[in-house]
Subunit: 339 residues, 3 copies
């Protein structure tokens, strides 16, 4: 499959990369993730060019990677520094790809393209992931569905009325305008329902669950797979920060044409230092993603098989506007890269 | 794979379709089965034309189907009656296929072809499934083998001498004529062994298991996948109804090129109101199909891989006559449909 | 995949073939193994030519094989001797392949080619498997990797320094010459490390584990898949038989393009009649093959997918010389067979 390559993708949460070697397929490429002797996160190819052993089955020796099969070693720039029994070979053209990797806001950002990495374009999620007014709880899973199906899902809060109806259903959701806008390559989708009763997902955190509130649900996408969600309820007319607010970050990175790495952070503005609230956040993700979104996304992928989305002639609706803008923007960016 | 389409296929047993939604692949088509507000059985496509969600993951609301992903609703004729947030779209050309479905003799008969359904051709199994002189116990399973392999198996009672030898083996089986006949598109296969000792499968139901009996075994096929079996033993010279008689109905419907839905009814003329006899019938099906036929059929399919039957140059024998007539008849019917 | 066919392959250990029928895929051919009435090991095709049932699901009757589906019988030469209900057919051209099979040194050697079997070329492993100075413990497994990946592994003792480093690692291993030689189609690979300390795998069997020893590791290959290993330690300058010596026999036979039957014998020259030592041999195989080699080989195969080895441009090293000689020799033999 053709992916957008010259872009920063999430390779994982920094906190999940400790002293071990992690092998992860990203954009169909085998990638090795580890920390060097100074703790700096490193990404290289995961396939030994000698006999194709996965390097993550090896070990770290003096800060470099030793293949677990024949002991060939590679440094953090991908250069071969030792071939046991063949010193000449080590000095010559054996190497693995080295991928630019940046650790920022707790995210490992990887650059898999052939162009120079654009460090100025490194995503900034500090307002959500490193902001004292929020508490973030992170997690990840791999979903057996194409990344575009995940993007369709994340940009579209309306599916919450059905797939997560037990938590989010409220009459009137579809009576308010669906504001869709695009600025450059940023796409956003928003609905605000004023003077309503908080849906179950929020009501449990309110002193008076029956009190009238303004409820908003907002999703913003930036390429290639960065979603900033902003959902919550606040007393009618009050500032959003005065209410129950969730500013989740969701990062998707293709694994293969039919599977996607999904890294998410539940970000809340209440009970910041409360382990029980952390646990509730995790439990919410479990219910919402594992039991509701994921089975649906995988069922849709199974229905589609390996067919291209357009070839199946989807009947689009007004609610698909933000998803189509994402698809169109991605297509345009990918085509620009191929020229 | 090319299937015969303009024909009535079994979609399931009516008694297995309650208040829930059932998704079932028939002839490689995703089909949704449910009952409307009046209890009438309905069949439509199972794939939402919007984003390809399986509709059986949704729910019934006021007798229509609501997709579990975005809440789009379809009525029993496949017409879209609601698109949340996009009333115009609902009024236009969004629809799913509606498949004629008839409930008769406890069978859900579905018509998947493009021609008008031929209701006069609806199979009549009342003499077996709605006959006070018989008791029917139904069941179903999916077998990972092409439907033609199941047809080969069901039309050929001789395999019982080996695959079910523990229950049916008797010397002399192959000494009597194998009567094969065809009338129109109906194929039948019969053997009668007179003045013999009942095989184990029947002996246990006789007052005197060692008494001489006439034993018959008959199978009749009608397209596309309807098998009427008739097996039993009776005192020498007596009417068949005077003995232990089993008039099973076996219905096969292709799921994919290498898997088949198999709906069967064990039909007996003894101990009609006896729960223990019902249980014995179920147990027999379990032993015979699950432990003997099914593993063999799936092993044969695995041996064949995706190769066409003829391309493997089977060495046919006299016993294959009825199976070959079925294959030839089906081929002729399929070709007629393609013209 | 194209295999060398006119050669003796191991079909299994003779001791593993008792009274039952064994179905085994060799070089992508379905093979049936059994013993006739005299206990002679027989190999024929495993696919009934009638309806493609696997014959190993049948049974032995009077020394011939009866298909479990329709009762067709085949003798040890593959000739059909009975078709129930169709005597004429049995007399005509129904048959299954009969494969020459020889039992020697406890190995079942099978000839799958179309040329006359070359009995003079039957491998002789008596010096290891039927030699009173050795004790052999046999085992087998199927590895989901191409046979060439297993050959690469077995001919190359250097991988022991990494993949089996816990048992075999010693500084100095790569400081001694790696002697690679070829004589006809026999390829060998050897290293001798003199005046060293025994690695863990041997030290546990020495009276003084810290005493200086000579350590050697030797592997010899003969086509198509016969490996004679010879590894051990002996007091400095002493004869190899005076030390702890292991003369393993490893036989590989392709199952499919991506899976291989691996039959191995651990052969030792110490504690010959010691059940605990037998158990230690088995445990060693378990650790070394099951937990170390096999996962690595299967991971390499997964990394390669279905790509051809050369198409992935492996970067070869000095240590690959014996493996490349095997690959080259096999290619030459296969090409000679195709002319």
């Amino acid at each position: 499959m053709t992916y957008l390559r010259n872009a920063w993708y999430a390779a994982g949460w920094a906190s999940d990369l400790g002293d071990e070697l992690i092998g992860r397929t990203l954009l169909e490429l085998p990638v090795l993730l580890y920390r060097d002797a100074n703790g700096k996160a490193i990404a290289t190819g995961d396939r030994c060019p000698h006999r194709f052993a996965p390097l993550h089955r090896g070990r770290k020796v003096d800060g470099v990677i030793e293949c677990g099969y024949h002991g060939i070693r590679f440094d953090e720039r991908g250069k071969c520094v030792l071939v046991p029994g063949d010193e000449e070979r080590a000095a010559r053209n054996m190497r693995i790809p080295a991928y630019p990797l940046e650790e920022r806001d707790g995210v490992l950002w990887i650059w898999l393209g052939s162009a120079e990495p654009d460090r100025a374009a490194l995503p900034d999620l500090s307002d959500r992931l490193s902001n004292p007014k929020f508490r973030a709880v992170t997690g990840s899973m791999t979903v057996r569905a194409n990344y575009e199906l995940l993007a369709d899902n994340l940009i579209d809060p309306s599916h919450g009325q059905f797939l997560h109806g037990d938590l989010l259903r409220r009459d009137g959701f579809f009576d308010v305008p669906h504001n869709v806008s695009q600025s450059g390559t940023t796409v956003s989708s928003e609905r605000v329902i004023r003077d309503t009763v908080a849906p179950a997902a929020y009501a449990m955190f309110l002193a008076d669950p029956a009190a009238p509130v303004d409820w908003w649900t907002r999703a913003q996408w930036d390429p290639p797979g960065i979603f900033r969600l902003d959902n919550g309820v606040t007393p009618c007319g009050a500032d959003r920060d005065a209410g129950v607010r969730r500013c989740g970050v969701h990062l998707i990175t293709p694994e293969t044409a039919t599977s996607t790495h999904y890294f998410f952070a539940a970000v809340r503005n209440y009970r910041l230092d409360d382990a029980a609230a952390d646990e509730a956040s995790r439990s919410w993700q479990q219910t919402v993603f594992q039991e509701q979104d994921r089975p649906m996304l995988e069922a849709v992928q199974a229905m589609m098989g390996t067919a291209d989305f357009a070839s199946l002639h989807p009947v689009l609706t007004a609610g698909d506007r933000p998803a189509m803008r994402i698809r169109t923007t991605m297509r345009r960016l990918i085509e620009a890269e191929l020229i």
